[in-house]
């Protein structure tokens, strides 16, 4: 990748996730929590992953070997909040940026023109489009999260690491006379991490040694998806199984390092 394609912002805080694939049972609680928290409307196309609105998707991984060596894993995929996002530089109207302390890639719905160039740019398929108007069955609108704006049809959306929770945590810290840029462990966590029954999703500041993600991301079992492309994701995965780590990236025959 040429230098001109890279956009690097350096932040004091780098919110990140470390997802232990070996702990994930594929129950989907993270997906449900995400949908409810972020006002994602129910739709008749919810079962069509090419058409449904989802910010977090759980992929099923298989090692492709016959029984008794066959093995599976589940891999929840939120937005990677890339350090060098492929989506932000291509947006013609600056509707998606990576410029706020914390390193979360924003999505500005009232500015998005719906050209979907960012979707073409993102290799993780983290971005989805609102193909129709959102419709909530009568009464269900009462369950909407008041801090999250609903999106009209015709705009792109994606996981924001529950950015509203970050704002609330900062506000609380300010009210208590603390530095909003030094939040304590678990003071701000996204809905998916909160809902995970097995504790597979850890969340925190990757730069802060007091946060457990700092250590976890440096584990010998940690890997990031498609690291070779230079996107520098802020989401790490953990697995003690080499075949799972290998599926984090693509390798050709001559590659020495193959994710093991």
């Amino acid at each position: 990748m040429s230098e001109s394609m890279q956009i690097h912002e350096h932040f004091q805080i780098k919110w990140g996730m470390v997802i232990d694939v070996d702990k994930c049972t594929g129950c989907g609680a993270c997906q449900v929590a995400c949908q409810a928290e972020n006002n994602i409307p129910p739709s008749q196309q919810s079962f069509d992953r090419l058409r449904s609105v989802h910010w977090l998707y759980v992929y099923k991984l298989e090692n492709g070997r016959p029984y008794p060596e066959s093995d599976i894993a589940y891999l929840p995929r939120p937005c990677m909040q890339c350090g060098n996002p492929s989506c932000a530089s291509v947006c013609p109207v600056i509707a998606t940026t990576k410029d706020e302390e914390g390193g979360i890639v924003s999505q500005i719905y009232p500015r998005c023109i719906g050209c979907r160039y960012c979707m073409a740019a993102c290799p993780y398929h983290s971005r989805v489009f609102n193909w129709f108007d959102p419709v909530w069955p009568k009464g269900m609108e009462k369950t909407l999260t008041p801090y999250v704006s609903v999106r009209p049809r015709g705009v792109v959306e994606k996981c924001t690491f529950c950015h509203h929770r970050f704002q609330l945590a900062k506000r609380r810290a300010r009210a208590e006379g603390r530095d909003p840029h030094h939040l304590k462990e678990d003071e701000y966590i996204p809905a998916c991490a909160e809902a995970c029954p097995t504790g597979a999703i850890a969340f925190g500041d990757l730069h802060n040694p007091e946060h457990k993600v700092h250590q976890l991301s440096r584990s010998e079992h940690a890997f990031r998806i498609l690291e070779r492309l230079g996107t520098e994701p802020q989401v790490y995965y953990l697995s003690r199984r080499p075949w799972v780590r290998r599926q984090g990236d693509n390798y050709v025959q001559k590659d020495q390092q193959r994710g093991e």
Partner: protein
């Protein structure tokens, strides 16, 4: 004839009734597309065949293809007004109209394609200077204005309009400043043709499209310019041939067509030289660095046949046919080669748009196939039909071809 006073002097045209039947057929297709457009605006893009994996589809392929093929307008203008190749005066009017239709048609589809068409002006207001698409938005809108300005004097040449001294003088003055607009058009076109290619080359998350390049421009920037100027002239020539078969009249001298074929042929050779180099560098450099092999870029649907079709049958073959004088002097071969050249550019734009998105980049993801639905086909047909209506009206009422009378005497 009812509309006799409006027809150019000394030319024959079909009866008004026959013309009306033809236009009615075209209007019916426009209505079909308008129904689809109504559904899209009314219910949302969910009524199309697009999805979260294929955010770009038939419309973007169509846009890129017609913008490339519409390059005949700026390039013919450049050759005639800047380089002074006078022979091209026989086709320059048609080149301008075809260019105008290609760009205005692409704009129509873009309005449908973007999810929030009322925010289209944000491209100017909140412009992201890092995005190739911003440059495309600026350039194609500016260039459409230039094409409109170039189209106006052609309309003013109508027999009745020309009788009015104000319009006659206006047309005269437009003709005087035309080299300036040809130069502006050339500048704008070079940039947006390039930026359309750059749009794909910068996608570092998509190894199929990713290219290295020069400074901020990936190689696709230059390849898209080259392929557009190689195919644009012969596309204009093919349209003139199509008009000749519909009207059963000679409109453009064969020498002009042959000249366009020769120009396209040489440009196609230059393009193919760099395209082969680019493909080799991509297959042996970009892909392995991204962890992919050449074979992994293709599947049963989007197979290697597409690449060989683009570079071989629609690349090397027409290039030979167009550069060898004895081959291009035979009308059948000239037209076949021109068609293949245009088809090659369409295939190129298709693979960059659709195949780029079909390939699973994450190892645990899978291939998907994109199939456009009727709403996308109908609206695309609407644009083709709209273009045919404008060309038909222009041919009937405007003196487009200076040699028409002489050729049919």
């Amino acid at each position: 004839m009812l509309d006799e006073p409006l027809l150019p002097e000394g030319v024959q045209r079909c009866s008004p009734a026959r013309f009306l039947v033809w236009i009615t057929l075209l209007v019916a297709v426009v209505i079909w597309g308008a129904v689809a457009a109504f559904l899209i605006f009314g219910w949302g893009l969910g009524v199309t065949g697009l999805n979260n994996y294929f955010g770009f589809g038939l419309w973007i392929t169509f846009d890129l293809a017609v913008i490339a093929l519409g390059a005949g307008a700026f390039f013919s203008g450049f050759l005639k007004y800047i380089l002074g190749i006078d022979e091209l005066k026989n086709i320059i009017n048609l080149a301008v109209i075809v260019g105008f239709l290609c760009y205005s048609g692409a704009m129509m589809l873009l309005v449908l394609d973007i999810g929030q068409p009322l925010r289209a002006w944000f491209g100017y207001w909140h412009a992201n200077v890092h995005s190739m698409l911003t440059e495309v938005i600026f350039c194609i809108t500016c260039y459409l204005i230039v094409l409109t300005i170039e189209f106006i004097p052609i309309i003013l040449e109508n027999r009745q309009i020309h009788k009015i001294s104000l319009f006659r003088n206006l047309a005269h003055n437009f003709h005087i400043v035309m080299p300036l607009f040809a130069a502006v058009g050339t500048f704008l076109s070079f940039f947006h043709q390039g930026s359309l290619g750059g749009m794909y080359g910068v996608l570092f998350g998509r190894p199929f499209a990713l290219r290295e390049g020069f400074f901020i421009w990936p190689w696709t920037f230059f390849l898209f310019i080259l392929s557009a100027i190689a195919s644009g002239p012969v596309f204009t020539m093919l349209i003139s041939r199509l008009m000749e078969s519909f009207t059963r009249r000679s409109l453009v001298p064969y020498s002009t067509k042959e000249l366009l074929g020769k120009i396209s042929g040489f440009l196609l050779c230059i393009y193919l030289f760099f395209k082969f180099l680019d493909t080799w560098a991509w297959a042996t450099g970009v892909l392995p660095r991204s962890g992919f092999s050449f074979e992994e870029m293709f599947n049963q649907v989007y197979g290697q046949w597409l690449l060989w079709l683009e570079l071989g049958l629609c690349g090397v073959v027409p290039a030979i046919m167009l550069v060898v004088p004895t081959l291009r002097s035979r009308p059948g071969l000239l037209y076949a080669a021109s068609f293949l050249t245009c088809a090659g550019v369409v295939v190129n734009r298709f693979v960059f748009t659709v195949q780029t998105l079909a390939i699973p980049v994450m190892p645990f993801d899978q291939w998907y196939t994109y199939i456009p639905n009727w709403t996308e086909w109908a609206t695309s047909a609407m644009v083709v039909s709209y273009s045919a209506i404008v060309v038909s009206l222009a041919h009937r009422y405007l003196p487009l071809f200076p040699k028409e009378r002489q050729l049919n005497a």
